[in-house]
Symmetry: C2
Amino acid sequence: MSGKNNRDRVAALAGVSSATVSRVYNSPERVSAVKREAVLRAARELGYSPDKSASALRRKGTGQITLVSFEKKGRTWYWGDFPVAKWFFTDVLSGVLSVVESSMFRLNLKTLKSPEELKDIPWEQISDGVLFYDVDTEEEAAAAAALPVPSIISHHTAAYVNNHRCCTDNRAGGQIAADHLKENSFDRPVYISYLQDLNSPNSQRYKGFCEGFDKEVPLHLTEPGKEGGYAVCETLIPHIKKGAIDSVGVVNDMTAIGVIQCLQNHGLTPGKDLALIGYDNMPFNYALPFRLTTVDLQPSLIYREAMTMLLEILSSGGGKAEFRSKVVLPRLVKGDSV
Amino acid sequence: MSGKNNRDRVAALAGVSSATVSRVYNSPERVSAVKREAVLRAARELGYSPDKSASALRRKGTGQITLVSFEKKGRTWYWGDFPVAKWFFTDVLSGVLSVVESSMFRLNLKTLKSPEELKDIPWEQISDGVLFYDVDTEEEAAAAAALPVPSIISHHTAAYVNNHRCCTDNRAGGQIAADHLKENSFDRPVYISYLQDLNSPNSQRYKGFCEGFDKEVPLHLTEPGKEGGYAVCETLIPHIKKGAIDSVGVVNDMTAIGVIQCLQNHGLTPGKDLALIGYDNMPFNYALPFRLTTVDLQPSLIYREAMTMLLEILSSGGGKAEFRSKVVLPRLVKGDSV
DNA sequence: CTGTTAGCGCCTTCAC
DNA sequence: GTGAAGGCGCTAACAG
């Protein structure tokens, strides 16, 4: 008795104590089937559902999961000057939310300038678990692993074996691009990229592309962004015109934009005079006079899986004894350019 | 005294009662500057920050603010087929978060297919207040007003006087576009749009454009999307070539893309042969060979203000007695096309 | 303006 | 397997 809140009314209606009501929602297996049913029936009748704030307070947790992203201002080699994270991020969010909403947790968003800022945050006070968006450096991975609460990193994270992680497979993506060209009988390809080190996503994409063609595809390195794509394409024009090159794989759509503009300025049409395939499935393809064939990371799917993993980790005590890993494969998005 | 938690330690260190600590975070204006400073200093020293779950519990609310957006699948006339909400929305989020994070509330996201779904949600159980994203129909505004918790709508919402609202001013935006053309000595403008009714954002933009030029600017209506822009531009080409038209205002960047592609196919260059100004400051301008001059809604700013208003409404009891309204003016983003 | 006091709804011992 | 009781950190009266 005592209380006069909904829960006590449920308890009274079900003929049990409020402690039993609590148990029904937290460890149902410890309650006899009869009383459990009675409680659930009473709850339904009274429209009762447990208060998450009170629960979190008493449990001394936060009831929150945080999705962390870094600004990565300096990363011109990757996104160029284009604020593309803006678009990509929304896909990510929808994936994450679809999982969190049906859990005991709520989602919390945080954007940081650098991994160092992680240290200044009282994680235990604001979050029970953290999902890191777009981790792709050792530094970030290490910082994530050092948090005082469980965490998982995505999506270019296959290499970071000391974290829980959910990743894409850039090599597979490169191969998918090559396979598509081969299936359409192109056999004189080149690849345009700007590599960093050998394990970078860009290098992996090229590697996969070569594997798809089963040979060392000629590689043309350039600067990041559409300017780089334009510049390197200039040097290829003569070979394209004489048919020595019939197809081009590009490290990302960003760079492909430059290639396209160069082709157009030389009177060439992608999809007609040259097969062209990008990577990342950027929405700004809308601004092109045709659809660019590209490879999609499926960000929404990756992050849905990542969040699912995080919840599993939390419910199993958050131990780091064994790091979990999962891979989500990219997929081809057919356009008009191949 | 009594308690042994962080907050009581902050109170002790600052030489005040714990209630005063609470006031510093909830209604700082009610605390003398001296004690306020003392509390904040003590809090910093002890690494204290208020527990949002406890706050929500005591306050008998959920501690959550929900940001609701509708899918608006049918709205091809507005966004075309382009998933532009994806990037726009992230700007919105950053604005909203900047305010929520320093409040006692947390942010909650929800995407619904239609206003009808609003009725199926037990709002009191999940949210203390709701911010509606991108409301632009009577139906949505009415549905928002009917919620059992306080709400505010943005951003094409100037016309909905029965809601709390934070809006852009499309007429001012149109005028900004016209002014910019005039300042650069263009005096033979036309305007391209697809109007709906007279109070629609599109109509307002046109109206403002005319006001800027102080005359009825020739209006060319077309279909939505870049296809529409392309088609209507075809009909204008002769007049542009003979100089009867020296500048074009376009209802949005989306449509402007079509205009640009048409101009290019006719050997004309925006910014050289014709002044061109869009609206919305879309990021896909990156895919163009130049920067499109455009008008920016400043979504991040609008939604920062909207959230600030909502918090004020909540702290003042959430009454609807008097509906609050605020306008955030758009701004010109100078590119290479004017 | 400031302090005191009484719970908010829940979970977790601790008995039984 | 179940009930009783204490208290998580905070805020809303109410006094002063």
